[in-house]
Symmetry: C2
Subunit: 299 residues, 2 copies
């Protein structure tokens, strides 16, 4: 599983920072979180194939998070994609996509399925039941969502324990993973002794919000917490007014939610040097890094 | 007067080539021709201020020519622009911009004035009567226009001729420029002897069209002819089918229109090496160059 940061600016893209987008590479598919202007080109530069995108999650309909969507859809249309694409977004997304599709001279050879998230929680479980997605309403100047990707827990085999029974490789091992006890060379092996749970990784993406306890709840125990830190805390009032967080607040939420790693992003163009933002977040949560375009995090 | 090339790809942006856009820097204003995805960031990278854009000319509503428009307008809105912005485009542009404005969560503190060009020719003369813009319908898979910018001719003073009369600097010289004869130190000086015409520069922008005589007429005597050369001539049939020109055709139109310089652009991603395209255009029109992103042409 890899997370690739495709953009880290706030409203104005800069020389070094594109609008927001995060690609989550999971098995053969790419899950895209937000799609700011230029996202398709950022993917191209990074060598990621847009054809692999299966699902798109939009936090909200401010331009820096969605302006790249029509171009991405059009490039998929030009590439003769037939597989439907599913898009999740806040209330109003269906109407917005309806207008978007009428803006440009293009027709789509695939279905665009839009889901509006109105309730607090969302679970998407793919056919192979490998992950769930959670969404939570945030606190911005328009309807906005935070998202968590949660890989399902895996039942792993305690190979050392099995080797005591002389069982190293056999199709019967699968039964143990399914929670069934087995008999091997006349001896009973209990599933609960021969297996253990490997917790699935959890990644949370929170941008464009002022402080709300939903952030803590959504991000709880995340392995990776990608969180906006648009301003320094000296501009906390302005941040709150505009529906944003400061670096210090991002650090506090990381601490409260007991995440493993915090990546701050969505920086105001007023900070060409990010050191003060990093230091501020680290003052509350040590394992903090600043996102940069094309950064890659392996999990 | 400077022309800055902001994008040179065709439908798919590549690592090195952004979607189409051309900025014409004329006095204090920027005239923008097309606005593909990422144009605002390309301007930022090049150090051009989007606030200076006064007029936008859209050839047509295929994404690679217009996807950057909503982001550009939104950034202008965030910068509290109040000066109206005027947009010219083909028939249907008003409806498309209406949908575009309803797609995103943004309001505009300035007027967006949309002009649809239905007739063959267009003249826009700014308050100071310095230039005209011409448009001509082209031949694409949707309504599409070519544009010419024509600086008005200037009446210049023949200083050498005037010095024979001992007239080097005096407000009376302005009268000669206005076409009036004057008396200087008892001698009559005729305007037609003391002045000459300096032809205004002409720039023509033609993209997304198959061969049509409108190209020749529009580009006639241009100092700079920016013309698409999406394919090599070996793919002429495919080019025509898709409403595009080959490099050879671009060269032929440059020759027929007697332009001074040809810049080819809008390259298919199948040509990472442009040398064959340049050679092909040069076989008919020698003074040809290939556009690249951030290229600057002074006139």
């Amino acid at each position: 599983m890899r997370v690739v940061v495709l953009g880290t600016s706030s409203v104005y893209p800069t020389k070094d920072r594109n609008h927001q987008a995060i690609a989550l590479l999971y098995g053969p598919e790419i899950l895209l979180f937000d799609c700011g202007e230029g996202t398709q080109r950022q993917m191209r530069i990074k060598g990621l194939k847009i054809s692999k995108i299966s699902k798109i999650f939009l936090t909200h309909w401010h331009g820096d998070h969605v302006l790249g969507l029509p171009g991405l859809l059009q490039s998929l249309a030009m590439s003769n994609r037939t597989q439907p694409i599913e898009i999740w977004g806040p209330e109003g997304s269906k109407e917005k996509i309806k207008h978007l599709l009428q803006t440009y001279e293009v027709s789509f050879p695939f279905r665009i399925i839009v889901h509006e998230i109105k309730s607090k929680k969302l679970q998407i479980i793919d056919e192979e039941l490998k992950y769930e997605i959670y969404a939570a309403p945030l606190c911005h100047t328009c309807p906005c969502l935070g998202f968590s990707f949660k890989e399902k827990d895996k039942v792993k085999i305690n190979t050392k324990y099995l080797s005591e029974f002389g069982l190293t490789s056999d199709p019967i091992i699968k039964k143990l993973q399914e929670g069934k006890n087995i008999i091997w060379k006349g001896k009973k092996i209990k599933a609960k002794d021969a297996t253990f749970i490997e917790k699935g990784k959890k990644i949370t993406y929170v941008v464009d919000t002022c402080a709300t306890e939903n952030i803590t709840e959504l991000a709880k125990d995340s392995d990776l917490f990608i969180c906006e830190a648009t301003f320094l805390n000296e501009l906390k009032e302005q941040a709150t007014e505009r529906g944003h967080l400061t670096a210090k607040q991002a650090g506090s939420f990381a601490k409260k939610a007991k995440v493993k790693k915090l990546i701050i992003t969505h920086f105001s163009q007023r900070y060409p040097n990010l050191r003060p933002l990093i230091n501020e977040a680290r003052s509350t949560f040590k394992n903090t890094e600043a996102a940069k375009d094309f950064m890659e995090i392996k999990l």
